[in-house]
């Protein structure tokens, strides 16, 4: 279980994350929404070690990870994908996966053997299959389409066998149809891998359709949390974020 306790971070005078406490049960799927600048990405950056929190705890199965470095946190089982696909442009899809598995098996420093290591093969293969990248294995990451680069980014997180997977806007920069394909993929991964998934998403239709649990952030604080139904009816959320139009439209 991932428990966030009183997590806070300020930049200058701005409280980007303000005393946030949240629990994410094992195997849950949660969407994080909120207006621009609500502190959604900062929240992810604090959990994954990209930023050091001012205060608070990030407990994964009881171990406090707050303030540790990204490699340490990844090793404890929190993987992430980025808003702008963060990949290795000159490596092929297959090399990317094999190297990542090698890193996870603590073989990133091996000098006396040749890449790729046989023992990294199966997991890399699995991850490519899962994300539908197996037939593009020989392609260099830089030559992939935008959507495939996002998938590769997610594959990079998933191939490490994380307990918790944080996806920062998996559908960013995609057309409507591609968005749905991507989010179906995310849901499929969640169902098959039985891991905890938390994702940031802007498209309300997508969020209300697939997320059993929604967290609304606003000015760095939790505005509301609950099921899609509860969030849709929450007056604070409507005032601050959804607006009445969307509220009406969402039922249609």
């Amino acid at each position: 279980m991932l428990e966030i306790r009183g997590l806070s971070k300020s930049f200058g005078g701005v409280k980007a994350t303000d005393n946030v406490s949240l629990d994410f049960a094992d195997g849950s799927l949660t969407a994080v929404i909120g207006p621009n600048g609500a502190g959604k990405s900062t929240f992810f950056n604090l959990i994954t070690g990209a930023f050091r929190p001012d205060r608070g705890q990030v407990l994964l199965d009881g171990v406090d990870l707050a303030g540790r470095t990204p490699p340490e946190i990844v090793r404890h089982g929190i993987g992430r994908a980025f808003q702008v696909a963060s990949i290795f442009p000159s490596l092929t899809v297959e090399e990317t996966m094999l190297a990542a598995v090698g890193a996870d098996q603590r073989r990133a420093g091996v000098l006396h053997r040749r890449f790729p290591l046989a023992e990294t093969r199966d997991r890399a293969e699995n991850a490519m299959e899962l994300l539908g990248l197996a037939n593009k294995r020989r392609r260099t990451a830089a030559t992939l389409s935008h959507g495939d680069q996002k998938l590769l980014d997610i594959a990079l997180a998933l191939v490490l066998d994380p307990k918790v997977l944080l996806l920062d806007e998996p559908t960013a920069g995609m057309g409507t149809e591609e968005r749905w394909r991507m989010i179906d993929k995310v849901r499929e991964l969640w169902e098959r891998q039985k891991i905890t998934v938390v994702f940031i998403e802007h498209d309300m239709d997508i969020v209300f359709k697939i997320a059993p649990e929604i967290v609304v952030l606003c000015y760095g604080r939790i505005l509301a949390r609950g099921t899609p139904e509860a969030i849709r009816r929450n007056q604070d959320v409507i005032d601050a974020y959804l607006g009445t139009d969307h509220h009406a439209g969402a039922h249609a």
């Binding site: 990204p70 490699p71 490596l91 090698g102 091996v110 000098l111 040749r114 890449f115």
Partner: protein
């Protein structure tokens, strides 16, 4: 999302691939060594053999720099300091301590290891341009120390009086032929080891860091440690180049530790290209040929070399081996399509 790529490998043949590439590299190295070692049998030209020895010294140095620049994305402007340290360390060890060649060789490597670890620990944390400048600053520091510590290093006169080269294991390095074969052996062995580093899992860790260090750390890689490791390894190979140079000229001079050595290393990498392993080796041969011919033809050789550098840097934007490699890949892909 469904276009198929040519040449999908299965798990099995990739495994066979990795084994065979290793044997292939060893075979190529052996063949290269045999050809180089047999060269004196066909030519009595001392000039040619000297040329090969210099290629060995600079080639090891430039290839080790490529491990930093091309594979890791660390552009060091001070890599020449390890070339200089190798030459001075070895020369001083032979002159002052009077030990045997292998002992001097190994202890020089140890000294360079300590220097590289300390300097690297400070430098590899820094971002691009700061890394370049601080490595350059360390180089200047070492150069000034060599110049001013006259009683120990001979100052601007260098280590004079020749380096004693007592025979060991039947190898007599004061014999020109022995020195030639010895240098070739060091070159081939050094290249083979660096090739292994480049193609190891660690080599791919370096590529990940070069491409996207942030992402590498989110895959669980300790970026600092990996950068420091390759910084030290590259320094060791550079120092072997310096030791060959010290043996060749039977001395060590402050120029070996001057920033221009680092500059030549960068130049060689630009000439040969950094995307292939042998690019810097090709660049070394080119630069040395260029140097030798141009100095013979004109006293303004700096201008000629400058123009060549600009031609490669601004005109081509690639090294020679980069072009050769692209040409090969194109032909290969074309052949695949036809076949």
């Amino acid at each position: 999302m469904s276009e198929l790529q040519a040449g999908q490998g299965t798990a099995l043949d990739v495994r066979a691939d990795t084994k065979s590439t290793r044997y292939r590299d060893v075979l190529i190295a052996l063949a290269a060594f045999v050809i180089l070692a047999l060269l004196p049998a066909f030519t009595g030209s001392k000039f040619l053999l000297d040329f090969v020895i210099r290629c060995a010294a600079y080639g090891l140095f430039a290839t080790s720099l490529n491990l930093l620049v091309g594979y890791t994305g660390l552009t060091s402007f001070g890599h020449g300091m390890f070339f200089g340290l190798g030459a001075y360390g070895f020369g001083l060890m032979m002159q002052k301590a009077g030990v045997s060649v292998p002992v001097a060789f190994v202890s020089t490597l140890l000294i360079v290891l300590v220097f590289a670890a300390v300097i690297g620990a400070i430098c590899v944390r820094l971002k691009e341009i700061y890394f370049a400048f601080v490595t350059l600053a360390f180089q200047m520091l070492i150069h000034s120390t060599i110049l001013s510590w006259v009683s120990f290093t001979g100052g601007d006169q260098g280590l004079r009086g020749g380096i004693p080269r007592p025979p060991f294991l039947g190898i007599d390095l004061s014999n020109h032929l022995h020195l030639y074969v010895f240098s070739c052996a060091l070159l081939v062995l050094g290249l083979l080891l660096m090739r292994q580093i480049a193609q190891s899992p660690f080599g791919y860790t370096l590529r990940m860091i070069r491409d996207n260090a942030t992402r590498a750390s989110f895959v669980g890689i300790d970026v600092y440690r990996a950068k420091l490791t390759i910084f030290v390894l590259a320094a060791l190979f550079a120092s072997v180049g310096g030791m060959i140079m010290a043996l060749f000229v039977s001395g060590a001079y402050p120029e070996f530790a001057y920033w221009t050595i680092s500059g030549e290393g960068i130049f060689i990498n630009m000439l040969g290209g950094v995307t292939t392993f042998l690019g810097p080796m090709v660049g070394t041969v080119l630069l040395l040929i260029l140097n030798d011919t141009v100095t013979r033809l004109t006293e303004y050789h700096g201008i000629v070399l400058g123009i060549v550098i600009l031609f490669f840097a601004i005109g081509l934007r690639k090294g020679l081996m980069d072009f050769a490699w692209e040409w090969y890949v194109q032909r290969r892909d074309a052949a695949k399509e036809r076949g």
